[in-house]
């Protein structure tokens, strides 16, 4: 039997999400539940995938199937495409497996042509409505499907307004619109060389293709990369009978959430517009009414909607985000989905759903995106600083958080300035999907127009980015790069601050402070900790970071990089003396100066951790990182160190490396300069003895970096244990310590069975492991990664999300080999991947003991670990 590509809504259900996309599956589910859904059918995601593998063509068999399901739908609704009495009009919308709001294309009013528009006028007894719908369709189809810019049509509209002396679209008469249609079609023909297509079937197939095509537009690709959505999922296309919210004052359209997506409050929350089509709400061009007021306007419709909303939340056991249209007082459900929400709302909803008995703790744990927690961890404004700050205007509190920065007027400008290290706030009249990368680069977003469900608001919440939307008082002139608020002008050199939780906009930069981690957050994280089995440590080099991490729930330090301590101003001199030292003695003398400082570092770290394990990595970077590179700097340093310029210059030149990443660093330093490892061991051990004498019980973990061979590890370990055991014996104390290794070189992973003979623990350094396994350095990959994303060779950044297929296979191999030799070996990960939820799930599944990540990632990791455990049970 041939594969089925097209499904009537009545043929599907919510479980068919992968095939029908989220929107299609939920339309089918609502149909099954008996709710009022305009009928139609879904062209599956597999048809999209085939469209691409067939070289961007829709197969004849699929077209045939579309026509067949169209015929069934026409029969069901009792209308016909292009009919001169009862014409069938449809919307054509994308709908991927994962929600990608606004990223792809939509065509409304499809089916209109010169004949059908007359029929529609007659049937609705509303010629103005009919002509307006047709001109909108011509405009949208030309733009989305035929790539004739919308703005050229807007120009025609503006000319007509001018000649008629009117200002608003609404002022056009039916005959104006009829004339507009003629002008639009003429323009179309002039541009395309053919008539605007009159056959609705042609319109339909071209539109389906356009939606498939839009799966691969740049903003969709960027969104997928940001949200880790594979390109081979494809999008489905939903073809649905049109209903009209713009048929007059007994019609309307709206969106609503079963709970407040910003706070999580259990109360229907939404907006609607009377006499409007759905896109008007989302686009944020008119500011809509709160959903409650519908109760007065259309009480019966409101009641029915309340009922449906409640049933949908009960059915999906989660907060729903719904779109509806009212056509002549009849309610139609156009969409339902689990609603996007702020982190704060997500936590409250999760805790409430458990309290209400609707979710188990395990189910609730899965309802919060770990990455979202980030917004709760970063600083808000310091109240005292806020008290003296001036509110210059107000908007809607569209996405919580605090942001300050100088004003950027375009997305490109925001990207560019952010790249140069500047903090910017993106200020726009309204945002559009093209702005997404600029929003990501900015500290926060301020818009003049649009509501809580406008593009800016939805996208900013998804990003966990502070956003104030619909600040109606501001005037933005992006060409002139000016922002005018109440007569005062702000330029790109002025800073503003946004409070996304109140909607306040302040002049200047305002001091910020840490967030509190109590209430729902506390409760929720307790559940996560109860559930998870994977431990969470932190990467921290300073007592300050370590304390922050412990506050965030870190259970130890997984990576303390000691080189940062070498760079401190009062130490770099001694480090350089060591580097220019020609003999072991000269080097040891310099190291003796560093020892007490280094020991002090460790004492403080141990105290900050209060007895939790601390893994200390020995010196890793190549020595040339510690010496100046330009002749001027070398001359200065030579003078300071009483060396000749030539001598120092030679030292610096000898340290030069062709490929520093693959050079004389890591444990290779400890092999050539065992005295460095000995000094670091002395500091680690003496610090532990000192702190333990104060009543603590520190068991230091010494980690040897960049090991590739068992003999290398054994050699350095011997220096460590010889030194440590001597100090312990001399002090007459008992002190346990561990010696382990980083696994960050492919050969280490491959020979992990050997390494485990010496190593008491492994810590996967997935940054370097990724670089060496892929054979490219992070510093250089920028030269080609752009093309790699464009050509879809890469769909996610391997330095953010661990490459499970390649690097992951090495990690898994090392875990298995290591455990074979030493069943109780402690295994962790300390690359930056340690804070990435998908990587954490991978780490849980392959049986690591812990992940280690930056302090601000610790809560994220705790939640991700809990989710991994829950998913494993499924």
């Amino acid at each position: 039997m041939a594969k089925k590509y097209v499904y009537l809504f009545s043929e599907g259900d919510a479980s068919m999400r992968n095939l029908l996309g989220g929107k299609g599956a939920n339309l089918a589910e609502m149909t099954k539940l008996g709710f009022p859904v305009p009928q139609g059918f879904t062209v599956s995601t597999e048809a999209c995938t085939r469209y691409y593998t067939d070289g961007k063509k829709i197969g004849d068999d699929i077209i045939k199937e579309i026509y067949a399901q169209l015929a069934v739908t026409e029969k069901n609704v009792g209308k016909k495409f292009g009919d001169n009495e009862n014409p069938f009009l449809v919307s054509v919308r994308s709908g991927a497996r994962a929600s990608m709001p606004g990223m792809m294309d939509t065509i409304l009013n499809l089916g209109l042509n010169d004949m059908a528009v007359e029929a529609l006028a007659k049937k609705t007894d509303n010629p103005r409505f009919a002509y307006d719908s047709y001109r909108r369709f011509i405009q949208m189809f030309s733009d989305v499907v035929m790539e004739l810019p919308k703005s050229n049509f807007e120009k025609i509209i503006d000319e007509m307004k001018e000649s008629r002396g009117i200002k608003l679209d609404i002022e056009f008469s039916a005959s104006d619109l009829k004339e507009m249609i003629v002008r639009f079609k003429d323009y179309y023909k002039a541009q395309k060389g053919v008539e605007f297509p009159q056959d609705p079937k042609v319109q339909l197939i071209e539109s389906v293709k356009a939606v498939f095509r839009s799966w691969d537009n740049p903003r969709a690709i960027y969104y997928r990369r940001m949200n880790d959505i594979p390109s081979d999922w494809g999008t489905a296309v939903n073809v649905q009978a049109m209903v009209f919210g713009n048929m007059g004052n007994t019609s309307g359209t709206g969106v609503a959430f079963t709970r407040n997506p910003s706070t999580g409050e259990k109360k229907l929350y939404g907006e609607y517009l009377i006499n409007a089509q759905g896109e008007d709400v989302v686009a944020g061009i008119r500011t809509p009414q709160p959903i409650e007021t519908l109760k007065q306007v259309m009480p019966k419709v409101y009641e029915q909607f309340i009922d449906i909303a409640g049933k949908l939340e009960d059915h999906y056991k989660d907060m729903q985000d719904m779109e509806f249209t009212i056509e002549n007082e009849k309610l139609y459900m156009l969409q339902t989905r689990n609603g996007k929400r702020t982190a704060q709302a997500a936590l409250k909803i999760a805790v409430d759903l458990v309290a209400e008995g609707m979710n188990t703790k395990e189910e609730a744990i899965l309802k919060v995106d770990p990455k979202q927690l980030d917004t709760l961890l970063h600083p808000g404004f310091v109240p005292s600083a806020l008290a003296s700050a001036t509110v210059i205007t107000r908007g809607l509190p569209a996405s919580p958080g605090a942001a300050c920065g100088k004003i950027a007027f375009t997305a490109d400008e925001a990207i560019e300035r952010a790249k140069n290290g500047e903090k910017v706030v993106l200020v726009r009249l309204e945002t559009s999907p093209e702005d997404i990368e600029g929003m990501d680069s900015a500290q926060g977003v301020l818009t003049a127009r649009g509501g809580m469900t406008s593009h800016a608001a939805v996208v900013a919440r998804g990003m966990g980015k502070c956003c104030v939307a619909g600040a109606g008082e501001i005037k933005v002139d992006d060409a002139a790069k000016k922002l005018v608020i109440n007569g005062k002008t702000y330029t790109e050199n002025d800073a503003i601050s946004l409070d996304g939780s109140t909607g306040n906009v302040y002049a200047g930069m305002i001091d910020t402070q840490d967030a509190e981690l109590t209430g729902d957050f506390g409760t929720f994280m307790e559940w996560a900790d109860d559930i998870r089995t994977l431990q969470v440590r932190t990467n921290a080099d300073t007592p300050r970071d370590a304390k922050q991490a412990v506050k965030f729930g870190a259970e130890g330090i997984g990576l303390c990089r000691t080189e940062h301590m070498f760079f401190e101003e009062n130490r770099i001199r001694a480090v350089r003396e060591m580097i220019v030292g020609k003999t072991v003695e000269e080097r040891s003398k310099a190291l003796d100066k560093i020892l007490p400082m280094q020991q002090g570092d460790f004492e403080e770290l141990y105290r900050a951790l209060g007895g939790r394990p601390v893994t200390i990595r020995f010196l890793d970077p190549p020595l040339h990182e510690f010496v100046p590179q330009t002749d001027e700097e070398i001359a200065d340093l030579a003078k300071e160190m009483s060396l000749s310029f030539e001598e120092l210059k030679t030292t610096v030149e000898n340290l030069h490396e062709f490929n520093p990443m693959l050079g004389h660093r890591g444990c290779r330093l400890a092999v050539t300069y065992p005295e460095i490892a000995a000094m670091q061991t002395t500091a680690v051990i003496q610090a532990a003895i000192k702190v333990n004498s104060e009543g603590m019980n520190v068991v230091p973990e010494i980690m040897i970096p960049l090991v590739g061979d068992i003999k290398e590890l054994a050699y350095v370990k011997k220096t460590v244990t010889d030194t440590a055991d001597k100090i312990i014996a001399k002090n007459g104390v008992k002190l346990s310590y561990k010696v382990g290794t980083m696994i960050e070189i492919p050969r280490a992973a491959i020979t992990a069975d050997e390494l485990a003979k010496e190593a008491e623990f492994f810590s996967f350094g997935t940054n370097d492991l990724t670089q060496m396994t892929y054979g490219f350095s992070r510093d250089d990959a920028g030269k080609f990664l752009g093309e790699y994303y464009d050509t879809k060779i890469f769909e996610s950044d391997p330095f953010v999300k661990l490459d499970h297929v390649g690097v992951g296979r090495l990690v898994k191999m090392a875990v298995e080999l290591g455990r074979k030799t030493r069943p109780d070996i402690k295994l962790g990960i300390c690359g930056e991947h340690g804070g990435d939820p998908s990587t954490i799930e991978f780490c849980h599944n392959i049986g690591l003991n812990y992940v280690s990540c930056s302090p601000f990632r610790v809560p994220i990791a705790r939640l991700a670990a809990a989710q991994a455990k829950v998913k494993e049970g499924k």
Copy 2:
């Protein structure tokens, strides 16, 4: 039962080589065969290994066992250690599993003390002999065991000569020697603070330790690295009853080979000295007599020796290298082993042994070290050039070949100057084991003293290095850096030429030419080809190299690097135009200029290969390698190209990479600039069409470098196949071609199952694979590899011998994964390892189809492949 560490000669046999070392096992075997072997015992290699793991101590149990076996031996020979009537004297010699001539220490005459020397004097009725033996022992023991430099004792001897007005050792009287002993012992006590040890058992244990210690001396480590001998093999120690070749004119000592080690001629070949100890022959201090003359001197001994030599060769079925001593007309065999031989001799002996029915072809194949063939492949002197050359002196033809270079007077100097790219000939009075690295660095070696079995001759033959030994007319003054031959002085600035096959030494540099590959060589290589199953291809970028390789038996090109073609003078301009091109069009325009030249390259290559397969690797290096780096060069080029300096400087700077090895190169270039891959494909395919139209049948193999991901390969392959198929269609011809990939990035090996979906062949680029798997670059590893060898972390160069444990595991994994997906995938190796015999054996064993190596390595690879096949059958 406790482990046995000490074996009497009568307890072992030749099969126990790993435990007893080569010397010990063969002494046992000769004992078993009933030949006259001075009795003794062997302390096993396992005792040596334990010595090191126990922290350089000999366990009490082993000492006890040594004493026990000593007692048995004393009983057998009827002598006792330190006895005042019949004292037992022994030699203590090293003996590793693999022969390491002269690398480790030996102590003779052990057992002598103040009492035993008198008994020996009495018993032999030769006080002078006894005192001479004792003073030699004190000297040797002090030097080798107690590390008191031999030269300090020589100083005492020189003082005594002066005070007595004598010149030669032989002129000392017995009482002189007695006085010398007193002075030696006084000196010893002054230096060491204790008396010279009188207890022979103490002497023995200290000497065993010294031999164990010498396993790890720098020259032994260097030799092992050069010959790929693992350090954990350890050496055995042979303790053997002394026999004396220096007891007068009815005594003597010698070495002999059953066939000529230089030519392979089937004729006993050897030398001996009357009234000498064995070390005198090897050290080359006195020039010995040919073995034939022994027939006149001691006919019965000679006959007995001839008989034993014949029986030994029959027994071992190989040419034997024997040491013997005659003590008062009684013959003792001190050693036999398979003799080292020149490549030419090895081939003749192998072919003869088969003809004589003593070996099968398979056995014969194993008797030639593939690396040795190298000497036969390199040029000899051009006869016409030789005709006009001046012979300045003559020596012994100790190791064949031709060498020319400027004179280096010390090993260190040779090493240093060779490092700087200079060709040098090492000229020494005589060589010693300390010179080994200098000999390796030199083109050839010339010595003033020593015979065909002197240190210089033996070591040079082992290295395949040209050597002229015992050139008695030359006077070498290494302090003054002068060589005087017949009154004419030569300095480090003068060049000389050596003919190792004739012993001639010429002034100046003489032109050389290729060797002939016929005769025994041809026969032998035919056998190798019949036996082997692994194919041998070559790495060649030019028709010249390709033709050379085909002459050497290459069966195709495994790697043609196309970048070399880009560097040619008339092309680099177009390449640079491409690089500065800002658009696809500009780059394509430049590439159009390169296309006809590149196509011409391939046509010539195809013709040179005569239809054999040719694998062409697409552009690999980063583009910055094609542009100048200094401001001056950039300014020049900018002028030439009519660009502004700033513009070109910016281009060059943008091409800069932090880690070029991990940068924008390989297939990454083809992803960002598909036009390059398209041009190269066009050249490959058009050239094949052209050449095939001439009647050839070329099936080009296009190889994509540096692939790490299946999508990367698929993307580039699409450019290749789209381009190729279009050209083939346009030309209306049939042409097969293959597209494959290098496996040189760890991730490629790990995901080889994926890659095999697209790749029709894999070629392992083990140079890069080694660098990335180990995480160090070859250019930078020099900074620490020295310490890695010193600390024995590394025992061989991973860029020469493939690391089987790590990199090899990846290769094996890729082979298995690749074949799982595509059972008929063609697998080869094209890294430099492809010419290394141990790597070739590895490649055979994991089932590769071919190895590819440099043209001069092709015969070596053919033999190594045959040996791998024979060993596999065992």
